[in-house]
């Protein structure tokens, strides 16, 4: 039953926040505070489950529901693939009024059958949504029958939108993998340097910037969960020696579940930021050696880190004079609230603040620590900033650029302020050493674009004072680098 599943997700022993709660608070669940009618933002549980699983590139992702759930959202997340494209085609049962009246189970079964006949995928993921959940369509049963009759894994993903937030949906997606996928295939080639990466979705194909590092060290990624993964990789993921968790909040239950069932230790790491990338590689090497890899791995890893760091910092130094003194507002959340701060500061930039929405306590502590390294003015830790207040900040010239997701871009742009996408719709990869260089390069391109001078100049018939608050573009070099 889904309510039991959600209760178990809310009872996450590895979640620090959760450990500090009373039993009663724990029952209430996570993040329900954020859902104020008329003042809420963000996706639903279905959205979260889909985000977590859709990067599996070779399966059919079939959304059971009326057109809204898939029709309004398919193929809008820019996650990359090195081969199959079927994950981007958008499959749904498109339930009609008649289906709602008569129940949608038969149609779902027929849809599964058609998908098998037409596309012969290695597996099908079926996503439950609000309307069929409400009329009592039993997707678990339909998937079970379809699996038996059609001879392929048909995985129910039970996360209808009304059960909660996007974040909860991520975890329910992970639950589906634990319950139905991971451990169902025994790979014949398990080795001492196999790892999984959990919560890496290959946004903008950025994992390609990181993978060569592992290749060079002889570390095999058994499964990226789920970026650019294949069903077989996931099904054999239980043979890895170490799990790395990228986005700590999203799939912590998967890391813990795999530790309990298969004894695979997990740790939290990040590929955003140079120091963090190095630390992540070190941890992986150490853990692998502890679990039986040859000891020379650690030395080889250190050599690679030294080489890559030197290369990256040298390449980034060229941008320092062009970025020094510029002020950045980081408006994202989770890992990114702190992981890129260091690199920006290395460029001599001033991080005026970072948002810790969707961040764990640990994220917040790290963000605070990162900001405190700031020379001079200490940047602020923001929660959510209301749009009018954010607009005022830009109009009053409190930041030269904002890094955020696509939704808040217009607050910056309408205030004629530079903006960069660092969330899921972006088209540049920022992971690893090369990714950080790319981030800095893109910031230079954006912040020093001559367009800003044009758009901020007053109209010939307006006196300069007529556009209050729009700061004149700071001439390059006027602010000395610290």
């Amino acid at each position: 039953m889904i309510s039991e599943k959600i209760a178990s997700v809310f009872n996450e022993p590895d979640c620090e926040k959760n450990r500090g709660k009373t039993a009663g608070e724990r029952k209430k669940g996570c993040g329900t505070k954020g859902l104020t009618p008329g003042a809420a933002a963000g996706g639903c549980a279905f959205d979260g489950a889909k985000i977590a699983l859709q990067p599996v590139t070779d399966v059919v992702h079939l959304v059971h529901g009326p057109i809204a759930c898939e029709g309004n959202s398919w193929d809008t997340r820019n996650v990359g693939t090195s081969g199959p494209l079927i994950y981007r085609w958008g499959f749904t049962t498109d339930l009609s009024e008649m289906d709602v009246i008569h129940g949608g189970e038969k149609k779902l079964y027929r849809a599964i059958k058609e998908a098998v006949a037409k596309y012969a995928p290695p597996a099908i993921f079926v996503y439950q949504t609000c309307v069929p959940a409400l009329i009592g369509d039993d997707i678990d049963q339909v998937c079970k029958v379809a699996s038996e009759r059609l001879g392929l894994p048909v995985v129910p993903v039970n996360a209808p939108g009304f059960v909660g937030s996007k974040n909860l949906g991520n975890k329910l997606g992970a639950e589906a993998l634990l319950a139905h996928v991971i451990g169902t295939i025994e790979p014949s080639d398990a080795g001492p340097t196999d790892i999984n990466i959990i919560g890496e979705y290959n946004v903008a194909g950025e994992f390609a910037l990181v993978k060569p590092l592992f290749d060079e060290l002889g570390i095999r990624i058994r499964a990226c969960i789920t970026g650019n993964s294949r069903y077989r990789d996931l099904a054999g993921a239980h043979t890895a020696r170490v799990n790395m968790m990228v986005c700590s909040q999203a799939m912590i239950n998967l890391g813990r579940g795999m530790r309990e069932r298969w004894g695979i230790p997990y740790f939290e790491g990040s590929f955003y930021g140079i120091g963090d990338t190095s630390q992540t590689l070190r941890t992986i090497a150490t853990l692998l050696v502890e679990r039986g890899a040859t000891a020379d791995l650690i030395a080889r890893t250190e050599a690679l880190i030294a080489r890559e760091e030197a290369k990256a910092w040298a390449a980034m130094a060229a941008y320092r004079p062009r970025l020094a003194g510029k002020r950045v507002l980081l408006y994202t959340g989770g890992v990114k609230s702190w992981s890129v701060v260091h690199a920006l500061q290395e460029m001599g930039m001033e991080v005026v603040g970072t948002s810790v929405r969707k961040s764990t306590e640990d994220d917040k502590a790290r963000a605070r620590a990162a900001l405190d390294q700031n020379t001079g003015k200490v940047g602020e830790l923001f929660g959510a900033i209301a749009n009018p207040e954010m607009y005022r900040m830009f109009r009053d010239g409190e930041a030269d650029i904002m890094l955020s997701g696509g939704r808040s871009q217009f607050v910056a742009l309408k205030a004629r302020t530079a903006w960069m996408d660092i969330n899921q719709e972006r088209h540049h990869g920022y992971a690893g050493y090369d990714g950080m260089l790319e981030l800095v390069r893109q910031m230079d391109i954006e912040i020093n674009n001559p367009v800003w001078a044009q758009v901020r100049a007053p109209a010939p018939w307006d006196p300069p004072a007529a556009s209050p608050g729009v700061t004149p573009l700071i001439p390059a070099g006027r602010r000395a680098a610290p």
């Binding site: 898939e70 090195s82 909660g164 607050v411």
Partner: protein
């Protein structure tokens, strides 16, 4: 029109929709409310309904989109959403002071079967603080209809809620236009110019050109900024005439006439020589003025453009998909230039499409389109058809909603003589380019992304859209 037998309407028999063409009715309703000034649409449903629609409109219009949710959860879904609606209305009124709240139902709440009208009454009785907030309730279950359906229902709800019944004193110079969602903000601007050229004063409902045209306000406004003012909607009964544009505006046009007695003229489209001629004659008749010289000049430019362009269209085979009124508008345009409609797909049942010059019109998805598009010279559909078009090996011309990967889609103009001229050129150029690519010495790698995977899939180039 054509002398060919009517097209057959075929419903796709599949249980599995692949690469959906249809978007949801609540999304269409929300988009319509974007065209009212000082408005905040509110979805009554789970918060994902709002998030998806919001992101899609943000990416298409490249504008901030005000849209809220009643954030239904498991418990409220079972017990009923009255409290959530109440809280949402109070929160929105307190925080953003909209003039109008468009309360839009979704699949979740319609499935449960809530008595929304009764609930609203109860809420208003309990909360006098809401006395000055106008709420327009629109019933749009997700499982019924698509984008145009929802837009049409929202406009009808606006009329039923905001326009007082009974005759009002008429103003001979006022004209109401009920605009369908296939018209862009650019189209609306063009239409306003044309109507004003006849000395008439148009009220356009909904008016996306006021709110989603990309202007820069001086402050940050949490509701729509620009669009049809509430006062103007309340006085639609004073217009000399109503012009309803597009089949999905027909019901709203009839409703407005029924309520106010203002006669409605129905135009099936406003793109194409004949169609624009009809519009001009209508405006000349309403205003009692001749068609201005500037517009006559544009007409002759269009005729010249049609002659210059028809060489590129004649004998070509096209695949076309979209919401019914978009398909009707573009389908008649290209047929009129000698192109053959080899494949036509639309999102919902639309019997009037039998009038298209083609053998069959399929109610289906973009997979249906791709399967029928083999050998076509060009595909015309929204940006979601990018991969299906690649699979069919046909070049794609983007039209409709959503178009997430092109700039300036809100400013495209297909309306009037000028808009028709530019659209014909754009389509003709796409055909020329497709033909050049097909005949290029190096074959166009339409399906580069479909290379067989090697064993080491990590090293092959990334296929990114």
């Amino acid at each position: 029109m054509t002398l060919s037998p009517p097209a057959t309407l075929v419903r796709s028999r599949k249980a599995l929709t692949v690469s959906p063409l249809k978007t949801s009715a609540p999304l269409g309703a929300a988009m319509a409310f974007m065209g009212i000034d000082g408005c905040l649409p509110l979805f009554h449903g789970a918060q994902g309904c709002t998030a998806f629609s919001l992101v899609m409109m943000v990416r298409h219009f490249r504008e901030a989109i005000p849209l809220q949710t009643t954030a239904m959860n498991e418990v409220t879904t079972i017990l009923g959403g009255l409290e959530n609606i109440e809280q949402a209305l109070l929160n929105i009124t307190k925080r953003t002071h909209p003039k109008v709240i468009g309360l839009i139902t979704t699949g979740l709440t319609e499935t449960r079967g809530e008595d929304m009208v009764g609930d609203l009454k109860t809420i208003r009785q309990r909360n006098p603080v809401l006395d000055d907030t106008v709420v327009v309730l629109t019933s749009t279950p997700d499982f019924s209809g698509g984008l145009e359906t929802g837009w049409g229902k929202a406009v009808s709800a606006m009329i039923a809620t905001l326009v007082p019944a009974g005759p009002q004193p008429r103003d001979a110079e006022r004209v109401t236009v009920l605009a369908g969602c296939h018209l862009t903000p650019g189209d609306i601007e063009e239409l306003r110019d044309i109507i004003e050229a006849f000395g008439l004063r148009p009220t356009i409902l909904p008016d996306l050109s006021g709110s989603l045209d990309g202007h820069l306000p001086e402050t940050w406004v949490p509701t729509t900024l620009g669009g049809t003012p509430l006062e103007e909607i309340q006085t639609l009964g004073r217009a000399a005439r109503t012009i309803a544009i597009g089949e999905h505006m027909r019901i709203s046009g009839a409703l407005l006439e029924e309520r106010t007695g203002v006669p409605t003229a129905f135009l099936d489209r406003v793109t194409g020589l004949e169609a624009v001629d009809t519009l001009m004659s209508l405006l000349a008749e309403i205003s009692g003025r001749p068609v201005p010289m500037r517009l006559r000049r544009q007409r002759s430019q269009l005729i010249d453009a049609l002659m210059d362009s028809h060489f590129s269209f004649g004998g070509t085979r096209l695949a076309l998909a979209g919401e019914p009124d978009l398909v009707w508008t573009l389908g008649t345009l290209v047929s009129g230039l000698g192109a053959r409609l080899q494949a036509v797909v639309t999102s919902v049942d639309a019997p009037f499409l039998a009038g298209l010059d083609t053998e069959e019109v399929v109610v289906g998805d973009l997979e249906d389109l791709a399967e029928r598009a083999g050998g076509c010279d060009l595909m015309i559909a929204n940006a979601n058809a990018r991969l299906p078009a690649e699979r069919a090996g046909v070049a794609l011309f983007r039209a409709g909603f959503p178009i997430l990967d092109r700039l300036g889609v809100a400013h495209r103009v297909a309306l009037g003589y000028r808009g028709t001229r530019d659209t014909v050129f754009a389509l003709g150029n796409a055909l020329i380019e497709a033909a050049q690519t097909a005949h290029a010495p190096t074959a166009h790698p339409a399906n580069t992304n479909r290379a067989e995977e090697g064993a080491d899939h990590g090293r092959s180039p990334l296929a990114l859209g």
